[in-house]
Amino acid sequence: MSGKKSSATGKRTRSRKRSAAGDRPKTRGKSRRIKVDALARVEGEGAMYVRIHGGKVKDVKLKIYEPPRFFEAFLRDRRFTEAPDITARICGICPIAYQMSACHAMEMACGVKIQGPLRDLRRLIYCAEWIESHVLHLYMLHLPDFLGYESAVHMAKDYPDEVNRALRMKKLGNEILEVVVGRATHPVNVRVGGFHRVPTRRELQPLLENLKTGIDDALETVHLTGSLEFPDYERDYEFVSVRHDDEYPFNEGRVKSNKDVDIDVTEFLDYFIEEQVAHSTSLHSRIDGERVYLVGPMARYNLNRDKLTPRSREAAKEAGLGPVCNNPFKSIIVRAVEILYSYEEAIRIIENYERPDRSAVDVVPALGPGVGHGCTEAPRGSLYHRYKIDDDGLILDARIVPPTSQNQAVIESDLYHFVERNLSLPDDKLQWRCEQAIRNYDPCISCSTHFLTLNIERS
């Protein structure tokens, strides 16, 4: 069979031995081990393991034991038109991202580019997914850490307004998806070339009203996140995100970093190399196989702040975000800013919407095998797909690089640095802070498997 690890571009490799702590002489002192066998408030199954010896962090592992599901293997010999619906099932939280990356890759393979209202509708459903996914993570998974609660439900007694606001906002994101693409989880109306049916202006009208009255919720959310207390923790990260000349990125643009990466989507696998490590069913991805990097809201903000709306940029500033954010705990503010942006962008799109005559453009496989690449911005970061299809439209080879496998290495290095600076904390506090540090990345473990439990061991 073709299309294996060392296919045309990009390769998966085995990890070189790389200990985060490096070799240090044995020091006397107590051993500590901090572990969480099943991490909570993340999507999917993972564990965390930290071993501390003689006041030094000896080992950090983000273990992903989510069972592998082999999407890239069974996509072969399926029709190119099936990829959006099949890959949606990789993640129940961000199916739109999977559908968008798959559609764009297939369209590239067939030499088609989607323009006009169909392109705008794709941005609209991406806004809805950012709203729904970011609100879920911000209020229900991440905020309880900052306020000291086990969950949003526990938080609801003392913070009823906040929890009700969250539910209201999440519902609005879901409603947009229900109207435009049929349902929020595994939408049915997305297809290669566009949509099966495009909404009428009248159908979008109630959404517009809810977005306009709801925008105060989005502003309140930014204010709330700006009022939180953050650990004093900054690092010099390499941020990677899609960047587009005219807009905050969803579907299109070049892949850029704040260091020297500036590439076309087609070159993705030449730069970002995935490797397999023994403790994880998720593959780790590094730039040139060496450099740890970060994808997601912080990366997008740092590389695309100039493309935010003036109101979103202003709100970010008022909430205490500078032009560059290097504190991963503050990603919660960035998510709030992106929610606000999504409200504004959704309003803009609906206000300007003219229903196109056709719901989709024809996409026909070219003669001879075609290769297509798609890199779009899932709520938790860049999601890359590449497909090779034959002239009958059957998939010959599929590669998918999800955001969480790209962030896995940076999460481990964050944990290493964070623990080392906070060794004086008692185990239970340190464990909770470590969990919070992982949640900074809104890891989606279901996605990355091909990703979390926490163990801190002190010796």
Binding site: E72, A156, R197, E435
Partner: protein, 260 residues
């Protein structure tokens, strides 16, 4: 304590996308009311607080794909009064059951450079193949209204009211024109259990069977119609029946009938 103890609910995950347990968090209007009446005792996606079993209701998402998981489900069954499987992965093995028709070793080698790190079973199987299941809630993803119905019914001690007829009936109720009759679009609606709201035909596409086979589906008749009237070839018939409910018995048989 004067107050009666609240029933305990647990949510468990096996091989899956998380989309079905997300349905519980997507009950925006009902979530806090549900949390008042039910003790959400184990729900890792939502809370780091966990309570030990036994549980009154266990919702199980995902399919069994590893030796470890095959053991874990046994303990969950022992700890649960009612065990309800939610979604196509748990009720039929899910999209990952496509491995059941192929060679898993080859699959592993396609995705992973070091196959020996990966421990997996040759098959992805529904929960019912491993333990007794009190109720199976279909869908890829499940419908949250149906989920609330199942939880409510079990707590009230009655049978959940979940229809098992085809999608066709729901299209008629919704006054959605038949896509197969009107547009010649292949549709799995006649053999697929309702519950999704018949959304695909409402968006001008054929049903793709995400709620799995209805009660007593006539799949061979539908295949025949697809082939003769709509010109669908065998390979595509196999693909149509072999998706999110590929390993559900009736769909599995039908796809195997068209293989060579």
């Amino acid at each position: 304590m004067a107050k009666a103890k609240k029933p305990k609910l647990a949510v468990w995950k096996f091989a899956s996308c998380d989309g079905c347990q997300l349905a519980l968090l997507s009950c925006e209007d009902e979530l806090l009311a549900v949390a008042e009446r039910i003790d959400i005792a184990y729900f890792l996606e939502a809370s780091r607080a966990t309570a030990k079993g036994p549980y009154d209701i266990s919702l199980v998402e995902g399919s069994i794909t590893t030796p470890e998981d095959a053991k874990r489900i046994q303990k969950i069954r022992r700890d649960s009064r009612y065990l309800v499987t939610i979604g196509a992965c748990a009720t039929a093995g899910g999209i990952q059951s496509l491995r059941n028709f192929k060679d898993v070793a080859e699959f592993i080698s396609v995705v992973y450079a070091e196959p020996h790190y990966i421990e997996t079973l040759d098959t992805s199987t529904p929960i019912e193949d491993h333990v007794y299941v009190d109720f199976e809630l279909r869908g890829c993803p499940i419908n949250k209204i149906q989920l609330l119905e199942v939880i409510g019914a079990l707590l009230a001690g009655r049978k959940p009211n979940i229809p098992t007829h085809s999608v066709c009936a729901e299209c008629k109720q919704n006054a959605t024109p038949c896509v197969m009759v009107a547009h010649g679009t292949p549709c799995l609606g006649p053999v697929t259990q309702t519950g999704c709201g018949a959304i695909c035909p409402a968006y001008n596409r054929g049903c793709y069977g995400c709620f799995g086979p209805m009660e007593k589906p006539n799949t061979s008749s539908l295949s025949d119609w697809w082939h003769r009237q709509l010109g669908v070839e065998k390979d595509d018939l196999v693909r149509a029946f072999r998706s999110f409910n590929a390993y559900a018995r009736e769909f599995r048989r039908e796809s195997e009938d068209h293989e060579r």
